[in-house]
């Protein structure tokens, strides 16, 4: 039905289904597309963060000092969502320790450092004849391919290729939109290696069983689109399924998976579902190419194409081994110009400033931009929101950013959630369009993290409360159980007593023990009395004789009084005993 609407719309000259919002920032893509993809010389050291993907940390299989070959598994995927790490070249494991990684937090994380030996010696490669293999076996082997989404999200690809009865994929969408300004790695990859990409598409189609493959490219990449069209025409896949290159208008953020799916198919993936729930799956072009290299040659994920651009002498694209220091890449780009003051990983819309230029290239690193004040001017001070709603006009998911800002700023987090804060894809269009220069996305990131923290705290509190309630219940139960036991015992004891009444021997022994106790107590009292008498008060030791006499008299009177009291007590004793 949606396809039909699409056809009608295209027939009417409306092109693809228009999405709400979006912006058109200056593209700056020409600068880095003048040269072919280059190769970097082997670096001396490679630093491989264990966390280069979304999901669990992989389990390290090597130790410091181990010799490793190119392509050797260094850390294997752990748990359902995880990705393996391989040695991008041969060398020796120099360290397994925390080091600075390219992450907005600027915090160090676990990394494996390889001292490169320069031989670039491969392990024995095991390509598979995937068309004849069992799919489950292929997917199992993919677990340790190290392949993750290379568009920037870095989600383990093996997870996305698993299908089950609930989620069957009819349409495979290949994301080649590359909508962020400055980034050209996918563009160059398509221009130069379209045939290899198509081989990867074949594999993805085979694994998913898709009936249709759509390759979405923005219209600012005509060379890439042409190369892909040619590759499609000669691909054997075109005889099996519908295989099409769809050119979409250049508009940021059309490269967002859900936005692109909407553009290409007209289907809006429900916010609370995955795309596979509606028969769609989406992969980046570089990711499917990695599939081809893995299955057809046995090569795991070892490198990627990275754009080096911005304030460098010769912006270009390079095939970079994972773990390569970014300084090497900058050097390859002709070096940074003098006024460079920052390095951005990713595009200018969603990227982040690197904590240092020495951090390594990771699987998610599609682009490094050398930044300078004349390139990206620091934002002027923020003015109050004038509710002009330009942010709402450009929001690709039709949120009301001005309301979300208001709620986030006033920490009215419940309201922010009600206004669908969590549907925000943090594309940055709102900030881009804000005349008051309000860093809106930062407010949303803050509000999201606050809400998540609150939810966790609430969960913890709920858990603690449940535990406490259970504990109280348990104590109560134990008390009851004890009471019951006592009652039973008492009943039992009475019965016992009734049985043992005619047994005087025990009684006699009881009396004997009581007498012994009484004797012990009497002896103790005696000892105490002796001690008390021996202790003469210090302050009266050297008093005058007259005073001494007076003290003796008082003591005597006290003694007499004590006597009298104890006699009285002695009289009372029987009555208290009666009460007992």
């Amino acid at each position: 039905m949606n396809a039909l609407i699409n056809i009608v719309k295209q027939g009417l000259g409306l092109g693809s289904v228009a999405v709400n919002g979006g912006v058109h920032p200056p593209e700056h893509k020409q600068e880095s597309t003048t040269q072919a993809i280059g190769q970097l010389p082997l670096p001396k050291r490679l630093v491989l963060p264990l966390r280069q993907h979304v999901g669990n940390l992989p389990k390290v299989l090597v130790a410091v000092g181990d010799k490793v070959l190119k392509g050797q598994l260094l850390a294997e995927a752990e748990g359902n969502i995880s990705a393996a790490i391989h040695a991008p070249t041969s060398g020796t494991i120099a360290a397994i320790e925390d080091a600075l990684i390219p992450h907005p937090s600027g915090l160090p994380d676990r990394c494996i450092t390889i001292a490169v030996d320069g031989k670039d010696e491969w392990i024995a490669l095991a390509p598979s004849d995937w068309r004849k293999e069992d799919k489950t076996k292929l997917l199992e082997s993919l677990r340790n391919s190290g392949i993750v989404g290379l568009g920037g999200a870095a989600f383990p690809t093996q997870v996305k290729l698993r299908t089950n009865a609930k989620s069957h994929v009819d349409t495979l969408v290949i994301n080649a939109a590359e909508c962020e300004p400055y980034i050209t790695c996918d563009d160059m990859l398509m221009r130069e290696r379209a045939d290899q990409i198509l081989k990867g598409v074949e594999i993805a189609q085979y694994l998913l069983g898709a009936k249709e493959c759509l390759i979405g490219i923005e219209d600012n990449k005509p060379e890439a689109a042409e190369a892909m069209r040619l590759a499609c025409a000669i691909s054997p896949l075109s005889k099996l399924v519908t295989l099409k290159v769809v050119v979409v208008p250049t508009q940021y953020p059309s490269g967002d998976a859900r936005q692109l799916i909407r553009l290409l198919t007209g289907i809006e993936v429900p916010a609370d579902k995955r795309s596979t729930d509606v028969g769609l799956q989406c992969f980046n072009v570089a990711t499917v190419l990695a599939l081809h290299r893995y299955f057809d040659f046995g090569e795991p994920a070892l490198s990627r194409i990275v754009t080096i651009t911005g304030n460098v002498k010769t912006p270009a694209n390079f095939e970079v081994l994972f773990g390569t220091p970014i300084t090497d890449l900058v050097k390859a780009g002709g070096g940074a110009l003098e006024d460079t003051n920052d390095y951005i990983m990713g595009g200018p819309m969603m990227g982040f400033s690197l904590p240092s230029v020495d951090v390594p290239i990771t699987k998610a690193a599609n682009c490094i931009i050398a930044s300078a004040p004349n390139l990206f001017a620091p934002a002027p001070p923020a003015m109050p929101c004038i509710r002009c709603a330009r942010c709402a006009d450009v929001c690709p998911v039709s949120l009301q950013p001005q309301e979300l800002y208001w709620f986030s700023k006033s920490s009215n987090l419940e309201k922010a959630r009600d206004y669908n804060l969590f549907d925000c894809i943090e594309c940055g269009c709102c900030t881009y369009a804000c005349p008051s220069n309000i860093p809106l996305v930062q407010y949303y990131r803050f509000a999201k993290s606050e809400i998540i923290a609150q939810d966790r705290a609430k969960e913890a509190a709920d858990l603690a409360r449940e535990r406490n309630e259970f504990r109280l219940m348990r104590i109560e139960r134990e008390k009851q159980e004890r009471a019951e036991k006592h009652a039973q015992k008492a009943v039992g004891a009475k019965a016992e007593a009734a049985k043992t009444e005619s047994a005087p021997a025990t009684e006699a022994s009881d009396d004997a023990s009581i007498a012994a106790k009484k004797a012990a107590i009497a002896a103790a009292i005696e000892r105490a009395k002796v001690q008390k008498a021996a202790a003469v008060p210090q302050n009266v030791a050297d008093a005058k004789p007259a005073v001494q006499a007076e003290i003796a008299e008082i003591d005597a009177r006290r003694e007499a009084a004590k006597q009298a009291v104890s006699e009285l007590a002695g009289d009372n004793t029987p009555s208290t005993q009666d009460k007992k």
Binding site: A377, Q400, E403, Q442
Partner: protein
């Protein structure tokens, strides 16, 4: 660390305000042509008062003065108020209205971005209620005036230096006012609109100003400083409303075009109801808001106690904005309505 996006495309708030003022220039020129240069003095008076009041309040509120004076919002409020007043009015009227608009309606609510009511309209409503006679007596267009007013005469009138110049000598009832009073005297609309102050569509001379507002409004649309929703909904609902009444009884209800081209309709459609701060933000909300203003404006014009109703309608609908926004939230991507 993460401060993305690193790019920005938006014109600053100051640029937006300056462009809106630029869009008012044709109307000001038309004013000078039709009513004389007195309006320029009124604009200057309002501007100075607004800037002084804004600076004073910012100082009292311990806010940085320069960035907020430079944002141009106070100046724009002053211009819109001055253009809403009769083109020839005593200086203190301009000063009191502007002062009220800036101090009470804007700064006391928190300044730029925080005022729930349109400041210019608050100033206007206060003046209309407090000084109804002065506010409803407009000078006659120069071509109709019995006594031709020189700039010196106009200045004398504004600053009240001569007592000889009487208001009645130079002023006449506005068409909306005239229509209303004459209708109560059982004249038909056709008879009434034959009076000299009526022009082709609206008021003689005033039409030119209205046309200039339309021109400025189109510039705002072209520059994407306003969206089509507000002016389109306001003007079409006003025309529909007037049209329905006109079709039922043409002798008692004026032609829809008359309603569009008289009073503050055109100024309101493009410059007043489009104030973003006090208006709704959702596209549907804008339609509802503008339609509400149009209905109220027509009702006040026809049944209310005042000749025009734009200011009151705007203020009434300003009160409904939070509700309208809450009710008209657009469908979020991937959500069912």
């Amino acid at each position: 660390m993460s401060r993305s996006p690193y790019l920005s495309s938006a014109p600053s708030v100051s640029i937006i305000m300056v462009k809106v003022m630029l869009a008012l220039v044709p109307a000001i020129a038309a004013y000078v042509w039709v009513f004389g240069a007195g309006i320029l003095v009124m604009l200057a008076l309002a501007s100075v008062t607004a800037l002084a009041a804004e600076a004073l309040m910012l100082k009292l509120r311990n806010r940085p003065i320069k960035p907020f004076l430079m944002d141009g919002s106070a100046l724009l409020t002053a211009w819109l108020l001055a253009l809403s007043l009769p083109p020839l009015a005593p200086w203190w009227l301009v000063v009191v209205g502007t002062f009220f608009a800036i101090v009470i309606a804007k700064q006391l609510y928190g300044g730029l971005g925080y005022n729930p009511f349109n400041p210019a309209m608050v100033g206007y409503a206060v003046l209309l209620i407090s000084f109804p006679v002065i506010m409803t007596h407009w000078p006659a267009p120069l071509e109709l005036a019995q006594a031709k007013l020189s700039l010196a005469n106009q200045l004398q009138y504004i600053f009240g230096t001569t007592n000889g110049l009487s208001l009645d000598a130079v002023s006449m009832a506005t068409p909306l006012d005239y229509l209303k009073t004459q209708l109560t005297l059982h004249h038909s609309v056709q008879e009434i609109t034959a009076a000299p102050q009526f022009g082709l569509l609206g008021a003689k001379g005033g039409e030119l100003v209205v046309g200039a507002y339309l021109l400025g409004g189109l510039y705002l649309l072209q520059q994407r400083l306003i969206t089509w929703h507000l002016p389109t909904a306001f003007l079409s609902v006003l025309a529909l409303m007037a049209g329905a009444f006109y079709l039922v009884d043409a002798t008692h209800y004026a032609h829809p075009l008359f309603h569009l081209f008289t009073g503050a309709s055109m100024l309101g459609a493009f410059f007043i109801i489009t104030d973003p701060v006090s208006g709704p933000t959702t596209p549907k909300g804008k339609l509802v808001f503008a339609a509400g203003i149009a209905v109220l404006t027509y009702l006040i014009r026809v049944y209310g106690g005042y000749p025009d109703g734009v200011a009151f309608s705007v203020l009434l609908m300003n009160m409904c904005v939070p509700l309208i926004d809450a009710w008209t939230q657009p469908r979020v991507f991937g959500h069912k309505k």
